[in-house]
């Protein structure tokens, strides 16, 4: 396969279509609008439907309807728009419908800014909507990984009958990098015999629903959901780590921020510092176990994010108090520099290598 140069947002669209997604419901918002634009251009060519909804709220509910009707379907938005979709996401999780959600994050709170940010870590991993639900949240660091995880995400969604989110930021959405569209490995996915497609007078009606009015029924439903989430935790957790068994300091960072951390680590190594990296690829399930492999004499963990400290909560849970955990972040659309990260790593070193 040959490489093509693609903008992150457009690469998402191309990957989704390759994954067999035929339906896209969305609403314009910067910095992800190239994706709906791409889908409006490309989906009709494959017999699919792009529809610009009247709002993000409507868009996610169209996704609910289409997913319940058995389609491979997705929506995308950016932070404030994603906030509006939370109602539908909770219903989708409750009704156990598969779909792919893309959030190309921008600065917040409120209308915030349009510049890259990672402020929706809590929203994505803690369940922005109501109720005890979970979903796999991918945090790709480059456009190739973005493409691979979009394709993977559709399969995971179908496999678990659950929404899957790809969480990027304005930087990965806007940047161009070479990508290769590999033929995805075919999975054995369950038949969608639960979908509403008309009974055809051959079976009892299928019902897509998240309402369980009897307490004992809803509890049973929740217990079933939790068992599913546990299985996702056991099998779908992904992480990249670098040199953590030997490191004096370990940086924890995800998405585009991890690339900046890598640049910082390369510079630090030239100066003789031993710095490792843990890069969660899934933010949920979180790779807690990876932190157990860290050099026991490590001086500390530096969490780097483009927000004011959200993933740091998971890092603290992961290290179980064994290492001091510190934080460096920029927000509002400001991007951390490698030099600033280097300075913070050196602070943890306390002056001596």
């Amino acid at each position: 396969m040959t490489k093509v140069l693609m903008k992150g947002n457009e690469a998402i669209g191309a990957a989704a279509i390759q994954a067999g997604c035929k339906y896209f419901f969305g609403y314009p918002i910067t910095p992800q609008s190239e994706l709906p634009e791409y889908m409006s251009r490309e989906l009709p060519k494959v017999g699919g439907v792009f529809l610009q909804a009247e709002s993000e709220v409507a868009a996610i509910n169209m996704v609910y309807g289409a997913a319940g009707a058995g389609a491979r379907v997705m929506t995308s938005s950016s932070s404030p728009g994603m906030a509006l979709k939370q109602e539908g996401i909770s219903y989708i999780a409750g009704a156990e419908l598969p779909c792919l959600l893309v959030n190309i994050m921008r600065g917040g709170p409120g209308l915030g800014s349009i510049q890259p940010s990672q402020t929706d870590y809590f929203q994505a991993t803690r369940g922005g909507g109501n109720g005890d639900y979970r979903m796999v949240v991918f945090a790709p660091a480059n456009v190739q990984e973005l493409v691979d995880l979009i394709i993977e995400g559709f399969d995971l969604a179908d496999q678990y009958r659950n929404p899957v989110m790809v969480l990027g930021d304005g930087m990965i959405g806007q940047m161009m990098e070479p990508v290769e569209f590999k033929t995805p490995t075919k999975r054995d996915l369950p038949e969608k015999d639960w979908a509403t497609v008309g009974t055809g007078d051959k079976r009892k009606p299928n019902i897509i629903n998240s309402l369980y009015i009897a307490a004992e029924d809803l509890e049973a439903h929740n217990i079933r959901l939790q068992a599913k989430y546990k299985k996702m935790q056991e099998t779908e957790c992904r992480v990249e780590s670098y040199n953590i068994e030997d490191a004096d300091v370990v940086i924890a960072a995800y998405g585009t921020t991890s690339r900046i951390a890598k640049t910082a680590i390369a510079k630090l190594e030239k100066e003789g510092y031993k710095v490792g990296l843990i890069r969660p690829i899934t933010l949920w399930p979180y790779p807690f176990d990876e932190f157990k492999k860290i050099n026991p004499n490590c001086k500390g963990i530096l969490t780097v994010e483009m927000n004011n400290g959200q993933m740091i909560d998971d890092v603290k849970i992961a290290v179980e108090g064994k290492f001091p955990v510190s934080f460096y972040g920029r927000s509002g659309g400001m991007v951390p520099t490698p030099d600033a990260i280097i300075e913070h790593v050196k602070k943890i070193y306390g002056g001596d290598k």
């Binding site: 609910y64 009707a69 008309g198 007078d201 009606p205 299928n206």
Partner: protein
């Protein structure tokens, strides 16, 4: 023995939860009968709202989805775009459609979405216990309007059919009532015409049904019918507001 009447196959055998004297049951039957008579029950996909008719997914004998409050037209849009050859309808109350779901219903009509909507207007929030709806009449008491609705505080009740009839994509808009056998027959005729319009691919259709809520109105069933005739029908005139031939 000849069977002169039987329950429509358009409805399941489940006993409904509706209060005595509530007209949801009548409208359910009409919808079920029309689905069978048009021969679309096997390809029908219905969308239930939030409100009294939330359990409609247990009553209609076809594939059903339950939607978030007010979002049924969006959910139906998602279904219809995936399965354009299926018959897709929503069944919504006035809190669901005329309050929280105004954007969704207006834009489904605006797009000329090929779905059909049954809109139950009983001038009150039933499920949550009698709160004021956008359709509650001036002077009508509700648990959130204990002295009665005033125009100064809450505006005049919204007229959904008249509003949607101004939208080009709405190919069929009719207001009916189910207060007596004659009107029930008319209501069924309207529902059938509305559904046919979807089958012919002509656009969006809605039937607004003036209904009773004896429980939350604090009336007996016969009193409620009378109240509907004397209070709702003058403010919400019955009749057709739009047919495809009026859509140029």
């Amino acid at each position: 023995m000849t069977i002169v009447f039987e329950k429509t196959k358009g409805l399941t055998d489940v006993q409904t939860h509706y209060c005595p004297g509530c007209t949801h049951g009548i409208v359910h039957r009409l919808v079920g009968e029309v689905l069978v008579e048009l021969g679309v029950l096997d390809k029908a996909i219905g969308v239930a709202p939030v409100g009294c008719s939330v359990f409609a997914y247990n009553y209609f004998n076809c594939d059903m989805q339950q939607a978030a409050h007010g979002r049924a037209p969006a959910v139906a849009t998602g279904i219809k775009r995936v399965h354009p050859d299926n018959f897709v309808f929503t069944y919504q109350g006035d809190g669901d459609l005329a309050s929280i779901g105004t954007a969704e219903i207006v834009h489904a009509a605006h797009r000329g979405e090929k779905i059909s909507t049954i809109f139950i207007n009983n001038a009150i929030y039933g499920m949550t216990g009698g709160q004021m709806a956008p359709t509650t009449l001036i002077g009508q008491k509700a648990t959130t309007a204990p002295l009665g609705r005033t125009e100064e505080h809450s505006g005049r009740p919204i007229k959904v059919s008249e509003m949607l009839a101004t939208i080009h994509g709405a190919a069929f808009v009719e207001r009916v009532a189910v207060n007596n056998p004659a009107n029930i027959r008319k209501a069924k005729k309207a529902i059938k015409e509305c559904f046919q319009i979807q089958l012919e691919g002509k656009g969006f259709g809605i039937v607004e049904v003036l209904s009773t809520c004896p429980t939350n109105w604090g009336l007996t069933a016969p009193e409620a019918m009378k109240w509907l005739e004397e209070n709702m029908m003058p403010y919400y005139p019955l009749g057709n507001y739009r047919r495809p031939e009026e859509v140029e």
